[in-house]
């Protein structure tokens, strides 16, 4: 495909700017102006439409293909949520409006969405209050850790370390480190779970807290999760719940009831906002009662007269972590989703996510080595170690799946499993789709034995073949600047 710049033709315009109805200004001093015009492409509207339509067709999406991408929860994104987000009453509101006196009354609908979402997430997670401001899951982690730090600072605790299991998402240690903490890794036991005894040994007075994903990235729910939180609390540490896998247990059990003090959610995972090819996301953070005072400003409160307002006067707050109220458009979609699922719908999400994963696990067990052979939650982790014997690697299996019309599973993660293939079907996929995937996986397993060389050539059905990542990193051609 040509680059947009390669389609540019001098003098062409794709969108005409409205004519001026005011005198042309001469107030700008020459010295402040650029010498050249910005070298943006020059295209007609048709050129632009064909270009981006062509690009889109070079992508897989959930609407085109099954996406069993472990830990990413690529579920179906309801069209209704998109319709809601496009309503001008939501999309065209200036964020500074409620900060003007009288302006808040003109944004009551938006404030109510944020307030109601807070209330709903409190109930779903068992927390005392939420902030909607973090603009992605990882941003939520950072916000959570900042509150942890604020808590310890307020109590005069001298804390230095944050514990993270070896199966954790990479963002956990990164967020902890970026917030200024030292990270200590807690090893998993043979069953893939955090071991209480090891944890007890590692916890000390310097422990600020623990970050835990539950079920973890092996798809396993730790039945001792409450005890784990208790151990952390015993040194006045805080237990942080990485909500990336909430999909597995939503409506069934609540992080707050497990003993967690801080929770972040990835709205696109559990609440079906579109992933967008890499964002925008949203990562609301919930806290227990004693941490409420540290939440970022502002928060939305309901006044006695039933109206909603922004509250800024929060002296112990960690401050401003977003310019306004978070990725409102994303929060709104998730709010719509929660309203559509409702009380009886949420547990059905967990049930079907877990059922689908266990079904795949059982059906593929004879063909692929399984990391831990127990009942899993929303995802199961295989290893390509059996296939390695024929010199077929996880990457070959992934690319072979592409030729079968499936997005590959998450590869090489969690790090504690050799050649991991992490499969998460999500609750929105049907038995037929999953059966199709299972059959494709079996075909690939057989091919790995019979014709391993063929598999290493995959994918053959895509516009480009396997791309040279080493060359990319070496040459670092990051932009065509003309």
């Amino acid at each position: 495909m040509k680059l947009v710049f390669e389609k540019s033709v001098q003098g062409r315009v794709g969108h005409e700017v409205a004519p001026s109805d005011v005198p042309t200004s001469i107030h700008l001093k020459e010295e402040f102006l650029r010498d050249d015009d910005p070298a943006l492409p020059e295209l007609s509207e048709l050129d632009v439409v064909r270009h981006y339509t062509e690009l889109s067709r070079a992508n897989f999406g959930v609407d085109t293909n099954f996406y069993p991408l472990g830990s990413c929860t690529m579920k179906y994104n309801p069209k209704m949520a998109e319709r809601i987000a496009a309503m001008p009453g939501f999309s065209d509101i200036h964020p500074l409006l409620p900060q003007l006196r009288g302006g808040g009354m003109l944004t009551q609908g938006a404030l109510e969405v944020i307030y109601d979402m807070d209330i709903a997430l409190r109930e779903i997670c068992g927390m005392a209050a939420f902030t909607m401001q973090p603009m992605a899951g990882a941003h939520g982690e950072l916000t959570g850790i900042m509150m942890m730090a604020a808590y310890h600072r307020a109590k005069g605790n001298k804390k230095k370390t944050i514990l993270v299991p070896d199966s954790a998402h990479g963002t956990n240690p990164a967020s902890a480190a970026i917030a200024g903490y030292t990270v200590k890794v807690v090893p998993s036991d043979d069953e893939g779970l955090m071991c209480l005894e090891v944890l007890k040994d590692m916890v000390d007075d310097e422990t600020a807290g623990l970050m835990l994903t539950c079920p973890n990235t092996l798809g396993l729910f730790n039945p001792h999760v409450k005890e784990i939180c208790d151990i952390i609390h015993s040194v006045d540490g805080l237990a942080y719940y990485d909500g990336a896998n909430l999909n597995a247990i939503v409506g069934k059990v609540r992080p707050g009831d497990m003993g967690f003090d801080i929770v972040h959610l990835n709205l696109h995972k559990t609440f079906a906002t579109p992933h967008g090819g890499g964002g925008p996301g949203a990562g609301p953070v919930g806290v227990c009662e004693r941490l409420v005072e540290f939440l970022p400003v502002s928060i939305v409160v309901k006044r006695d007269d039933g109206t909603y307002a922004l509250e800024y006067d929060r002296p112990n707050s960690i401050g401003y972590i977003a310019p306004f109220y978070g990725n409102f458009g994303i929060v709104l979609r998730a709010y719509a989703y929660i309203l559509m699922c409702g009380k009886e719908g949420l547990p059905r999400i967990a049930e079907n996510a877990v059922l689908n994963a266990n079904y795949i696990k059982e059906k593929l067990k004879p063909y692929f080595e399984i990391a831990v052979d127990k009942v899993c939650k929303h995802e199961c982790v295989f290893s390509a170690s059996k296939q390695n014997e024929h010199d077929v690697h996880g990457m070959d299996i992934a690319k072979g799946l592409i030729d079968e019309g499936y997005h590959p599973p998450t590869m090489y993660f969690p790090l504690i499993v050799k050649e991991a293939l992490m499969v998460e079907p999500t609750e929105t996929e049907s038995k037929e789709t999953i059966d199709g995937f299972i059959e494709a996986m079996i075909r690939i397993a057989k091919k790995a034995e019979a014709e391993p060389d063929e598999l290493t050539k995959a994918p053959l059905t895509t516009a480009v073949g396997r791309l040279d990542e080493t060359k990319a990193a070496k040459e670092l051609n990051l932009a065509d600047v003309g």
Binding site: V13, L40, Y67, I84, L96, L100, L106, G279, L346, L355
Partner: protein
């Protein structure tokens, strides 16, 4: 409607196939922890949801005339943007870790990076950050990592919304943040140059600054470089249709809010953080980056690169904890820049400046209203001094359907009567006159 495809019968078939019951699947959760009752409403159908949220959206006024800016602008959004970014192959796709089936997203990112470079005069750009504020914070951390220093100078003409964010983020870190106080609406050169020393890792400035004033920071860049510090410049992308680029002034890192490039205001987000820099600094750049490469047959293609900097490999040694960014927003901005192109962006920048200039003349002609800092230094936003409290005035004008601007007292002491007024290409001569007349009427 939890959007579950399996029927009850299929669920039963699957349970039988694996020889378990639904209870078995959740047996690892201790009973005492299980939810007894979820205090939520029953699920709503689409029709019910439509009625409810239509009503809720109706409680937000869409009939205001916006002279409200402050870094976030009411620009026109061409119809082709939502039509194209709304293609599900874009918005339902995952982060492009599997490049063969993600060339659409990857090429679009590469083109976004290229357009941002062309606009800012920089050499490399990443694939977007959360917003302008977090981009500024990441740029600061990047500069401090590079210079191995811990002192930052930031002028208070930089967007206060970003400055308070940076204060929050640096609370636990050992960073010295020195704020200089603007002078006559522009960055305080003297104070900055005075404070610049061998400990300074970064100087953060903005152009046009929060007051709408424009400047040339070439001299400050030179002074900073002399001391081994880096210059971070926050920009307003639309303005770069005509304004001198940060690159040509010698900026080392450029950040900015990309909402102006075809994104709706959407009550504060999702927006688009821009971050561009030089090839010299590119390996320190946080966030996703796409690079050009080839496949086995020499076909051109695009991949995410420099992933070793990211958390899924170096984990606690990563350059930032950013994982998802704002890819779809970057796509929208790319489509915007492609539609407007070289001429369109210049035209729109000129139009904003012209309309602002007209508004300035019209408003400063209202008896009692004064320009705070002359005329010849602003782009599409300017500050006027009212004879009375600006908060009151704005409040009265809101009742007349005009969001007249942002009272500066919220962030600046001693500026109770100062009002920041933004004018985009959408504001008509008529609307500007209406504002002037309304202002005159209440003063």
């Amino acid at each position: 409607m939890p959007f579950i495809s399996n029927t009850d019968q299929q669920q039963q078939q699957m349970l039988e196939a694996i020889g378990l019951t639904m209870d078995d699947l959740f047996a690892d959760i201790p009973d005492e922890l299980k939810i007894k009752n979820l205090e939520l409403e029953r699920g709503l159908t689409e029709q019910e949801l439509q009625v409810r949220l239509q009503a809720l959206s109706g409680k937000n006024s869409t009939h205001l005339t916006y002279f409200l800016g402050g870094g976030f602008y009411d620009h026109f959004i061409p119809a082709a943007i939502p039509a194209l970014a709304g293609r599900s192959e874009f918005y339902t796709a995952y982060t492009p870790y599997q490049p063969e089936i993600s060339q659409g997203t990857l090429q679009a990112i590469y083109e976004f990076q290229s357009m941002i470079c062309r606009l800012t005069g920089m050499e490399v750009s990443n694939a977007s950050m959360y917003d302008g504020g977090t981009a500024m914070y990441e740029a600061m951390m990047m500069a401090l990592r590079k210079t191995r220093r811990n002192k930052v100078i930031i002028d208070d003409s930089v967007n206060p919304i970003y400055r308070v964010m940076i204060h929050s983020y640096t609370q636990n870190l050992n960073i010295e943040l020195d704020e200089t106080k603007h002078s006559d609406g522009r960055a305080n050169r003297d104070a900055i140059l005075e404070q610049l020393d061998k400990e300074t890792g970064a100087v953060i400035l903005q152009n046009p600054n929060f007051f709408g004033c424009i400047d040339d920071f070439t001299d400050i860049a030179e002074a900073a470089h002399e001391k081994g510090a880096l210059l971070i410049m926050c920009c307003y992308p639309t303005s770069l249709g005509i304004l001198k680029t940060p690159g040509s002034m010698g900026a080392d890192i450029v950040v900015g809010e990309g909402q102006c490039l075809g994104l709706p205001l959407s009550f504060g987000g999702p927006y688009l953080g821009v971050l561009a820099t030089t090839r010299k600094l590119m390996r320190k750049m946080p966030g996703r980056i796409a690079a050009e490469t080839t496949d086995g047959e020499g076909n051109r293609g695009y991949v995410l690169t420099l992933q070793a900097r990211e958390q899924h490999i170096r984990r606690d040694k990563a350059t930032s904890n950013i994982c998802s960014n704002e890819a779809l927003c970057a796509l929208q901005a790319s489509i915007y820049m492609s539609l407007l192109g070289k001429k369109g962006l210049k035209d729109i920048a000129n139009l904003c400046a012209d309309k602002a200039s007209y508004a300035f003349d019209r408003l400063t002609a209202v008896p009692g209203v004064k320009a705070r800092w002359g005329k010849n230094w602003f782009y599409n936003e300017f500050v006027i001094d009212l004879p009375t409290d600006a908060t009151d005035v704005v409040s009265k004008l809101i009742e007349k359907g005009i969001a007249a601007g942002f009272p500066l007292s919220r962030y600046y002491e001693g500026m109770d009567n100062a009002l920041l007024i933004a004018v985009t290409e959408k504001r008509t001569k008529q609307e500007i006159s209406t504002l002037a007349d309304a202002l005159e009427a209440i003063l």
